[in-house]
Amino acid sequence: MIVDRSHVPWALTTTCLTLVAFILYWIYARTEPNGASGGSWQGMLFGVAGTGCMVYAGLLAWRKKIPKWQVGSAQTWLRGHIWISLLSVPLILCHGGFRLGGALESCLMLTFAAVILSGIYGLAVQQILPRVMASNIPAQAIAPQLEVACERLRRSTELAVQKVCESAFLEPFSSLSRSQGASELAVTTSGINPSKQGMPVKTSQHESFSPKLELSTFYWDQLNSFLSSDANRSHDLANPTLATARFARLRDSVTEDLRPVIDEMESACDERRQLLFQSRIHGWLHGWLHLHVPLCLTLLVLGLLHIMTAIYY
């Protein structure tokens, strides 16, 4: 959720309530002979208020699951989730007397801190990353369909190359096997290991140079693996500078009629890089939830245990 001017009333209210809570706590701590305690009625009221805030924050998830509960708009719930959760922090601190407490209470406080901090992190990345995506990823896809998009991109590029290369499309597979046999000679003559280059080496045994073969070889050796859904940032073509250089060299080594397809290949490569970037940003945008949500459940269980034992004892 983007924090904009509509959040100002919420922020002001939260700030005012925080100040009121601290003032009340200060008065209570000064007047209490034995100092502030979470077990006194004042401390427990702070605890109840803080717990109420946390419960409200947790209800956001249930609101999504039960659409019939259309109590307030999703925006209001989200704003409330943010600011009321933040309000719970001073309330819980006042309840605990700004101490960690015993074993259970320390676990609670640490879990609570992790939940709050992960939430703040999530809110922060939500302010920045979507804008980064919008400006740097014009070709962004629907996140759950990134794999599908990659596969279809690869497929469309393959068809385009096949259409142009015709019979030479599959020739790199057979020429690769021949070039492996000549690799020893190539090492002797040129000192270059063709298997490391990934490209068939133009040796003196090749009687003729085919641009289509060049194109198909480039596609199979480099572009195909990059366009697949399991490509990662370590791929050579993931580097835009290196990719530009490779495509430029390819463009120079083929005839004029093949250059449109090279443009298309380069476009596909660029789109794949954007999808790769989108995948990373998507991980940052949503990965914190893998910590935030489970910890909330932990907080719920520990909180219930704390309430039960505190009331009993």
């Binding site: 209490e32 259970l104 369909q145 949503h286 949500v293 932990t298 009331i311």
Partner: protein, 550 residues
């Protein structure tokens, strides 16, 4: 690079059936959540089934650590926190007084009540007012619970270290209550302070009408002659500290000795206070009683002394000359002296020579006068001789009065040397042994004046009146107790004493709320708690017998 794709081209790349498949991220999140939830529940099971110490906010005090893992040993009021919250009243404690008293006999309700008088003179002085105030104070004190002041799970190593606010909050209320009961709004206690730096002056140094009225048996008196503005010791004894601290104190037979404080003031075994001054132990060696004609006399009641005097006179005068001595079968030191029996009373006895009787009577009167009437002691300058007949007199140290009662006609006014000057506090001398006696016990409450000389004796004559040193004390009327300012030099926060010291200044350091008995009865709760009763009751009683807090 410009995006030259067409929307249709882009749209054709997506799978419309994707909604049928679960989002992998959501799936991972669900699995993680389930894992955390189950893991947390499983992790809490050992806490619930086993050691409950994980639930305490802080550890218990040292004395309770032996049963810390058993919460029910103390917690017998379930739901008390809920009651506190609902009623907005923190007096609901999770531990009842009964639970505390199963081991600790101190209570707020029994004979250890805080506001009852501690000494007999206070009982006399308070009289009816005590009964009136008791009902009023009950409303303040009865809601107090043991756990209200001695709050566990605060990380305190000792629960006896009650916060000052517990005392001052109540005292501030009591202050108004007491003042409302007094005709002039004045009462003996000064309770309106909340910090040691504001602590009222010690009682012996406060000339308060209410205080003086109530202290019938006070260790000090405030003279009304207007000549002096400090109290005087009401011990009814004559003593010259300056004389006795003379480094060249005559010790008889031409020898000298040197006395120090500890030669007479010997600490009790617990180190808190000092044993009473005992004539036989502390004075006899130099101050033997008796005259040449009487021989040594005991330090006893006048009747006993008189009897011994008479008996010794008879024996001594008998040996002086050839006068026949008639044995007096009914005389003796334990019986009141009688005139020598006449021949008419007992014809069996040999008649006593009348002249001998006159001699005895004359000598007896002389001795009696020396014992009970001698005056003229010069307490200003030390005497260089010890042969004055007045040296052996009772009046050397005691005040006597002629009351014509009994067979002697004189009585010695009983001394009033208190074993504890300040009855409403507790002091431990052993914890202050690093401080020299002379620095605290100054003359009439003056602060110790450091001198360049390590040994401040002797005090120069011209400094006699102004000196605060104990060496300048020539009269037992000097009050040699410190004022509160001396205590505040060390006890208190740095800011209150100018940064000179920061020794603890808590109320409980000097004052005891529970008037602890000197003997503590056997506490049955401990037997039940420890070793399931395997320790025998008699053995436990012997082990746990408490001799008192002082």
């Amino acid at each position: 690079m410009a995006d030259r794709r067409r929307l249709k081209t882009i749209a054709s790349r997506y799978d419309l059936d994707v909604l049928r498949h679960r989002d992998p991220l959501r799936l991972m999140r669900f699995r993680l959540s389930a894992l955390f939830l189950i893991g947390t529940v499983l992790a809490c099971v050992p806490w619930l089934l086993g050691d409950h110490r994980a639930f305490e906010s802080r550890c218990v005090s040292n004395a309770h650590k032996s049963f810390e893992q058993n919460c029910s040993q103390c917690h017998d009021q379930s739901g008390a926190p809920l009651r506190r919250m609902i009623t907005f009243n923190n007096s609901w404690t999770s531990t009842s007084d009964k639970k505390c008293q199963s081991c600790h006999r101190e209570s707020n309700k029994n004979d250890n009540d805080h506001f009852l008088p501690k000494t007999k003179d206070e009982e006399f002085a308070w009289g009816n007012r005590h009964a009136i105030l008791e009902a009023q104070l009950e409303t303040l004190i009865s809601p107090l619970k043991c756990a209200g002041c001695h709050e566990e799970h605060r990380g305190h190593s000792e629960l006896t270290q009650v916060s000052d606010a517990q005392c001052s909050n109540c005292h501030l209320q009591v202050d108004h209550l007491l003042k409302s009961k007094e005709p002039n709004g004045q009462h003996r206690f000064e309770l309106k302070f909340s910090d040691f730096s504001q602590h009222t002056q010690l009682g012996i140094w406060r000339k308060s009408e209410a205080l003086n009225r109530d202290r019938a048996d006070s260790p000090v008196n405030w003279p009304n002659d207007g000549k002096i503005d400090h109290p005087v010791d009401a011990s009814k004894i004559l003593f010259n500290h300056r004389r006795h601290l003379d480094p060249n104190l005559p010790a008889g037979n031409g020898k000298t000795t040197s006395l120090d404080c500890v030669d007479c003031h010997q600490a009790e075994p617990n180190g808190a206070y000092f044993r009473p001054i005992n004539y036989q132990q502390h004075c006899y060696q130099c101050h033997k009683l008796g005259f040449p004609s009487t021989g040594e006399l005991p330090h006893a009641d006048p009747e006993i002394v008189q009897g011994i005097v008479l008996d010794n006179l008879v024996k001594n005068l008998k040996n002086k000359g050839d006068r026949p001595v008639q044995s007096d079968e009914i005389g003796g030191p334990t019986k009141p002296p009688i005139d020598p029996p006449s021949r008419d009373l007992d014809p069996k006895l040999q008649p006593i020579d009348a002249a001998f009787q006159d001699d005895i009577r004359a000598e007896f009167q002389k001795v009696k006068s020396q014992l009970f009437e001698a005056t003229g002691f010069d307490n200003v300058e030390p005497r260089n001789h010890v042969k004055s007949p007045f040296e052996k007199s009772c009046t050397k140290c005691h005040f006597t009065r002629q009351d014509n009662k009994g067979s002697v006609g004189w009585s010695v006014i009983p001394t009033k040397i208190p074993s504890q000057w300040m009855a409403h506090s507790q002091f431990r001398h052993d914890r202050h042994f690093s401080v020299d006696c002379r620095k605290c016990h100054t003359r009439n409450g003056g602060l110790h004046e450091p001198s360049e000389r390590e040994d401040y004796y002797p005090v120069l004559k011209e400094q006699q009146k102004s000196s605060t040193s104990i060496y300048a004390s020539i009269s037992a009327q000097d009050v040699l107790m410190p004022r509160i300012e001396l205590c505040q030099q060390c006890h208190g926060h740095g800011s209150s004493n100018g940064g000179r010291g920061s020794v603890s200044d808590k109320c409980v350091d000097c004052h005891d709320y529970h008037h602890t008995h000197a003997k503590a009865d056997f506490r049955p709760g401990i037997n039940e708690m420890l070793n399931n009763g395997q320790i025998g009751a008699a053995e436990l009683k012997k082990t746990l017998s408490i001799k008192g807090s002082r």
